[in-house]
């Protein structure tokens, strides 16, 4: 039985617990257990805290990694930001012994030590590598019949030098997972464009930030896309709640349901809309996503 330390971060548990519920249900279905990381904090966001003070960013991120390492478990995340911070911090500490020493010095009295024995994984990797497309396909009981816009977000793929998932210009991992549920992943203009939330832009310049989102949603609508599938809780917030904000700010309505990848897979495995928290999204689910 495979076990992961589930790093929750902020948006997943504190805004979209449906993502948390869906992820646990889907992983359990395939015999993968998730364990709490007691006392974990904000990752903290790579483009926000990384922009404020890199030393503070690294110490807090390292602490989160060490808490999982103490349990002897690899980490799984459901947010590109969390993945970005923890994976980058882990990468830096593995590459730079002097920083590892500095981190360990800082956490000595708390009894924490960074050893570099675990991996930080994104939920996409767990779904794709541990479970696999074939197993997912076989488990589908309620196929999704919808045109989907895949939204990869940024920090799962980039910087590729640190992430190591290959060239970030033409990824297919999310599209393959979407299609495993029976849905069709439709290409659209600026598919790999950022949702607009990151780097502190959402907090500081909501109007500009939502303009990114608006462009993406409009590009999806143009291709007849019926639902957005994302891989990041922060993108998820921006794409779902963002549509309400876009309506308020710009008077434009898109009404595109937004689902996290494990929520889409959850539906295809027979879980109900309610069990996956989808009924509590800002944008209501359409027929295609109601079970």
């Amino acid at each position: 039985m495979k076990e992961y330390a589930y790093f929750l971060g902020c948006i997943t548990p504190n805004r979209y617990p449906g993502i948390e519920a869906a992820t646990i249900k889907v992983l359990n279905k395939f015999g993968i257990e998730t364990r709490d990381i007691e006392g974990a904090s904000c990752c903290p966001a790579p483009g926000v805290f990384g922009s404020f003070d890199l030393r503070t960013w690294l110490l807090i991120a390292a602490r989160n990694v060490m808490l999982a390492e103490k349990k002897g478990l690899d980490i799984v995340t459901t947010c590109n930001g969390c993945y970005g911070s923890l994976q980058e911090a882990d990468h830096i500490l593995k590459e730079r012994p002097e920083l590892k020493d500095w981190v360990n010095e800082n956490f000595k009295e708390e009894g924490l030590e960074y050893k570099g024995n675990i991996k930080v994984k994104h939920i996409l990797e767990v779904l794709y590598d541990d479970i696999g497309i074939n197993k997912l396909k076989e488990a589908v009981v309620s196929p999704i019949n919808a045109k989907i816009g895949a939204h990869y977000g940024c920090h799962f793929l980039k910087p590729s030098l640190v992430r190591g998932h290959g060239n970030p210009e033409r990824p297919t991992i999310l599209d393959e997972l979407i299609e495993a549920t029976g849905a069709e992943s439709v290409d659209y203009k600026d598919k790999l464009m950022c949702c607009g939330a990151g780097g502190g832009l959402r907090a500081k310049e909501l109007g500009y930030s939502l303009t990114f989102t608006k462009q993406k949603l409009a590009n999806m609508k143009e291709k007849g896309i019926e639902g957005v599938i994302d891989t990041c809780a922060f993108c998820h917030l921006q794409m779902d709640r963002g549509q309400i904000e876009i309506k308020e700010k710009f008077g434009e309505e898109y009404n595109l349901p937004v689902l996290f990848i494990t929520q889409l897979i959850g539906l295809s495995l027979g879980f109900s809309t309610k069990e996956l928290g989808l009924d509590k999204h800002s944008i209501p689910m359409t027929e295609k996503f109601i079970r």
């Binding site: 060239n167 210009e169 203009k189």
Partner: protein, 427 residues
Amino acid sequence: MKSLVIGGGPAGLQASLDLANAGYDVYLVEQCFSLGGRAVQIVKNYPSLTFIKDFMKPLMDDVYNHEKITVLTNSEVIGVDGEAGNFKVKVEKRPTYVNLEECKDESCAKAMDVCPVEVPNEFNVGLDKRKAIFAPFSYSVPSGCVIDEKSCLHFKDGSCSKCSEVCGGINFDEKKETVEIDDIGSIIVATGFDPFDPNLRPELAYDKYKNVITSLEFERMLDENGPTKGKIIVDGKEPKSIVFAHCIGSRDKKVDNPYCSRICCMYTAKEAYMAKEKIPDATIAVSYIDMRAFGKGYEQFYEEVQKKQVLYRRGVAAEIYGNGDKVVLRAEDTLLSEPYEFSADLIVLAVGVEPRSDSAKLANVLGLQLDDCGFFVEKNVYDTCETEKDGVFIAGCCQGPKDIPDSLMQGSAAAAKAIGLMQRCNT
């Protein structure tokens, strides 16, 4: 004492001719079916706008017909022993399965006509098809047909021998042979380059859209004898707006090509000029980083192109996306500090010069060094013909990117060096 030249492009041809005219016996080994190298794919030269054929064809003929030059096409150097003044060389000569002396006037055309196989034509970079028996290009030297055994059905499963029914020159039993040449005093390497594969920059979507093409594909469309009979046609239509994008695969560490390819600024200027001549009402723009017009008369030619209302906009091509029939180039106008989009019927990617993919293999055979980029290493910056290996010289693009006049010059320089060495060895 004899001399070996590897590569039958401008540098190798010029070197062979200079050596032969100085009285040396020359073996010229060319990997392709015809002499000419990549230069023969180009229609006109810059800045003179003269036809390259008018220069290359006589040069190829002079070399081929020279009594002191033995031309081995479809051949490859597979072994070199010995030292300066006395190399022993092994050349693998592959069969063409066509004995040109047996060929009658019309038999080539007949043979190509009956051949049932069609494959993309390399010479026209896939813009049209050729048969399995084919003439490499309109003025190939040696002239006449060859059989490409990789696509010929006779070699696949023996199911076809139609060409041999109409042409007496066909001989399917021809075998490859190894030619051994002794008493080679000097070797000149002039193996040329490969064009950059734009798929290594996926954001430019070369594989996604028919109307994003390479400069070499565009060049083939400019040829009156080419696949479009000299018409610029994309997807059945004549483009009314064209963007040329500089520095694709050049000055780009991301694709391991940190160097300037030297030729793209000027060949693009020429292609833009010719495009404007062929489609006078077309809107033509060029996206560039820095304009490098360093040769004699080049800057003045750049001016002539601008007079044609070709718009030069500073800033490299950032990405390309499709919009209906159009392709849209995104870039920053770095002089205005403004990002902009140019919606065009055609985008031409000015692909750069890369070391040949097989240069490591040849370097191994010859005992030569490759630099970080994969080009052959010259002795020093003041002597770009000599190498660390005594008696082996380099010329043309295999040493580093350069245009045709510079390649010819380096070919001559390498020949002079080789002659000097062989003179010394004789005394």
